[in-house]
């Protein structure tokens, strides 16, 4: 059976039939014709009736192609993602996923069928729009290749979005509360803001912006090389295509960024088909994706650092994004890689039955200790590159790493301690403890020290447990920037910070070890 034999793909057949009933198809085509007619008449009469400004010389067919491109984006990116989410989450509410799980269709076919099938209506509508664009281009001697390349770039980005939304849909457990999905969503939302607000090339290449930039530069040659949105004088437009200082062609760079993430999301969908209870990503997938993201980040950052010709631009601030990204991976990773109470017990029983001392570290039921260690090693290695880049002194490099790694060790071990302890079924406790340590106590510190010039040194104890403070401190030490001496005695403040973070981390490690021993002895 061929992977692309969609006529015999059960998941594709199901979604396709449901989404392409004559009534739906009829109204979609009618709506499309109306919208296209509106676009054409609008663009055409703008030209004829001289409604445009004098500088605007773009002919009506170019305006139409651009407008159709935006319509394509809305159809594929927005409606496609919504459909992917809706039809995947229904596999869970209907429990039909059970039937697919117990059928002999290969996993890859099921994943492909679900993602392509649920968005099939959007795909063929976008192909219809493409046809109209191509006809317009042919009739007016515009480069057909550019329009095809736009479509391929947009389609790649749409496929990435569809994979992500299908994964979120199929991860939604209809029986459990939706808090988990909500937290993840809010996390992704904030992460997206932190990343999108910067000029790193790999973030640009994660989006649909390159597709539109490419089309724009061909249809309106006066915009060529100005990037999208238009960056003005400096070389940012070029830097958007630069990784480790090398300028890459548009499509390969986009593929380099988007395909691995798409593959990761599709693998996550596959894990949902295999076993709903296991985490969306395995321990090794979490490590690999963190490694890949940090590599892309570094490639983008290095390019900005050395090649930006904008005199007023200080890329150093982006290092904060990297540190936040590390904390983000640590938090998401800990939540996914840490076995649940029952998961850990299952692992113990299984290992005992198989006559093993313990399962492989990467097993879903294994302790997260090795995973946490490897993740810290990864972060330390990445930080070392930046210590080198900023010529951080060895002492400050050690301080910077100790602060960040302390927070990571604490969170990873604390989650494991919590999951294995008697409190494991009361998730709100974990949530509350973290909110108090990370947000409420530092907030209290901020309030009582407001307005004071230099804070009493002891007050650092209120800030130390929070990784928000930790990230800032790590950043300052990494940058050798000791000017910001907020506390009366900076040296004592650092010592207190380190003592607090690492006693939290060590206690969490000990507690987690204790709980592991306890469960092991229970049998």
């Amino acid at each position: 059976m061929n992977l692309f034999d969609l006529k015999n793909n059960p998941n594709f057949l199901q979604c396709w039939r449901e989404r392409n009933r004559p009534a739906t198809v009829g109204s979609a085509v009618t709506l499309l014709i109306i919208i296209e007619a509106m676009i054409f008449t609008n663009a055409y009469f703008d030209d004829r009736l001289g409604l445009k400004s004098a500088q605007d010389v773009t002919p009506w067919f170019v305006d139409s192609i651009s407008a159709l491109a935006i319509l394509q984006g809305i159809v594929l990116l927005f409606f496609g993602s919504v459909s992917a989410y809706r039809l995947s989450s229904r596999e869970r509410t209907n429990r039909t996923i059970d039937f697919h799980r117990s059928s002999p269709t290969p996993r890859t076919h099921q994943i492909l069928g679900l993602v392509l099938g649920s968005t099939s209506l959007e795909w063929w509508i976008s192909l219809l729009i493409l046809t109209v664009q191509l006809i317009l281009a042919l009739l007016n001697n515009l480069p057909v290749i550019a329009i095809l390349q736009f479509y391929i770039q947009l389609a790649l980005c749409a496929a990435l979005y569809h994979a992500l939304f299908a994964l979120m849909g199929i991860s939604r457990d209809p029986l459990k509360n939706k808090a988990g999905a909500l937290i993840l969503f809010v996390g992704i939302y904030f992460l997206a803001h932190i990343l999108v607000a910067n000029k790193l090339s790999f973030v640009y290449q994660c989006t649909w912006l390159p597709a539109y930039e490419q089309l724009d530069s061909v249809l309106k040659p006066e915009n060529a090389g100005r990037g999208w949105p238009h960056y003005g004088q400096n070389n940012q437009a070029e830097l958007n295509y630069t990784l480790f200082g090398a300028v890459l062609p548009a499509l390969p760079f986009q593929m380099l960024v988007q395909i691995p993430f798409m593959a990761l999301f599709l693998a996550g969908i596959g894990r949902r088909f295999t076993n709903v209870e296991q985490p969306v990503l395995s321990k090794s997938q979490l490590l690999t994706s963190a490694f890949y993201t940090f590599t892309l980040f570094t490639g983008s950052y290095v390019s900005l650092h050395f090649f930006s010709d904008d005199k007023h631009f200080r890329p150093e601030g982006y290092i904060v994004s990297l540190l936040i990204l590390m904390m983000f991976f640590a938090i998401i990773g800990a939540l996914l890689a840490t076995p649940s109470h029952i998961g850990y017990q299952r692992g113990l029983r299984r290992a005992r039955k198989l006559g093993l001392g313990h399962l492989n570290w990467a097993h879903n039921s294994s302790s997260n200790a090795v995973w946490g260690g490897l993740f810290c090693l990864l972060c330390a290695t990445v930080l070392a590159i930046y210590f080198h880049l900023f010529s951080t002194s060895p002492g400050n490099a050690v301080l910077a790493s100790l602060i960040l790694l302390g927070h990571i060790v604490f969170f990873v071990s604390f989650v494991e301690y919590f999951n294995l302890s008697a409190m494991h079924s009361k998730k709100p406790i974990l949530f509350t403890v973290i909110v108090i340590l990370w947000f409420l106590i530092p907030l209290f510190g901020t309030i009582i020290s407001a307005g004071a010039g230099k804070m009493p040194t002891a007050l650092v104890a209120l800030f130390a447990p929070s990784p928000i403070f930790g990230v800032i401190e790590t950043f300052l030490y990494l940058m050798e920037q000791k000017s910001r001496e907020k506390f009366q005695n900076q040296h004592v403040a650092v010592s207190i910070t380190l003592i607090i973070i690492w006693s939290m981390a060590v206690s969490a490690v000990l507690l987690a070890t204790y709980e592991r021993r306890r469960l092991k002895s229970l049998g």
Binding site: R17, N94, T96, D98, F99, I342
Partner: protein, 316 residues
């Protein structure tokens, strides 16, 4: 063909519940195996593990010789699974639904339409061929799932409480379909908390309780193992006290009769441990004594009685 379903120390755990406790089970080709037990016994959990839907804590599951963990595709291809709850796509038409799952079992496109028609007819849903599933009743959905399960012609059928939600006619129809499947040599594992619907066509049973398989084997074996007896009932045409006492004492003195009882209707009941010949001899003797016997019945316990008996043992 030998063993079609083989479980070795299968264990399933949920948070705070050990739903299936190290079960060993072998079901050979052509057997109809009834898995019985009260609600919460762990039947569904065991069946889900066999169907590859639930990852067991540990244990080896083999279907037609293929290990479910090592060769899932080969194992699942042999298996038809019918859950206790009908999972359907509400917005598909009946034929489309069957066609989707025919494709899932790798049946080529050209053969699917014919098979769909054939099975819709078998479960009496032919006139619903083009209806949307959301317009079907619970029982119709159950029949649709039965058709879905049998359509790929699996060698092993696992059915979790298939009769729930069916009306008596549909139950009979399902029994006939399953009997036919068994006659074709398919192996069937069927679970239920009510035995009447199974007892007449299961040739082996397993009784589950609190996650353990208490007893398992052919009905004959279980009967022997539980020291199960035949039950003898004697009714008299004109049950005068003298007559009844006469029969009562005669039976009481026989070494094959135990647990003598007289009912309000003056019937005499007892457990009978002897052979058919022993029963015939007793009947002859009683007839000779002119006791006006009009009914002399010697029945074996059916599965239901065995089930009740085990239940009673657990309670006591």
């Amino acid at each position: 063909m030998g063993t079609m379903i083989s479980l070795k120390s299968l264990r399933v755990d949920y948070e705070d519940v050990n739903a299936v406790k190290d079960i060993d089970l072998e079901i050979s080709a052509g057997q109809i195996y009834g898995l019985v037990g009260p609600n919460g016994a762990g039947k569904t959990s065991a069946i889900k593990a066999i169907a590859g839907i639930l990852e067991p804590t540990y244990g080896e599951i083999k279907i037609a010789g293929h290990d479910l963990e090592l060769e899932p595709r080969e194992a699942l291809r042999k298996l038809g699974y019918m859950p206790d709850f009908p999972p359907v796509y509400e917005n598909l038409k009946v034929w489309e639904y069957l066609d989707v799952f025919a494709a899932a079992y790798l049946i080529p496109g050209a053969q699917r339409a014919g098979k769909v028609k054939h099975w819709l007819k078998k479960v009496s849903l032919s006139e619903k061929h083009d209806a949307l599933i959301k317009d079907l009743s619970r029982g119709m959905r159950q029949r649709l799932i039965l058709a879905k399960t049998l359509l790929p012609d699996p060698q092993v059928l696992i059915l979790d409480e298939p009769a729930s939600g069916l009306d008596p006619l549909a139950r009979k129809q399902m029994r006939d379909i399953l009997k036919e499947a068994a006659a074709e040599g398919k192996t069937i594992l069927i679970s239920s908390h009510i035995l009447t619907e199974l007892s007449e066509f299961c040739n082996a049973v397993g009784i589950m309780e609190k996650g353990e398989l208490r007893v398992s084997g052919s009905i004959e074996e279980i009967r022997v193992r539980l020291g199960s007896h035949k039950r003898l009932t004697v009714r008299l045409a004109s049950p005068t006290p003298a007559n009844v006492d006469k029969v009562y004492h005669f039976l009481g003195n026989s070494k094959h009769c135990a647990s003598m009882a007289k009912t309000e209707k003056q019937e005499i009941n007892c457990l009978f441990t002897g052979s058919k010949e022993d029963a015939a001899w007793i009947l002859t003797q009683l007839t000779l004594q002119e006791t006006s016997i009009y009914d002399f019945t010697c029945v074996e316990d059916d599965v239901e009685d065995i089930f009740l008996k085990i239940g009673a043992k657990e309670v006591s």
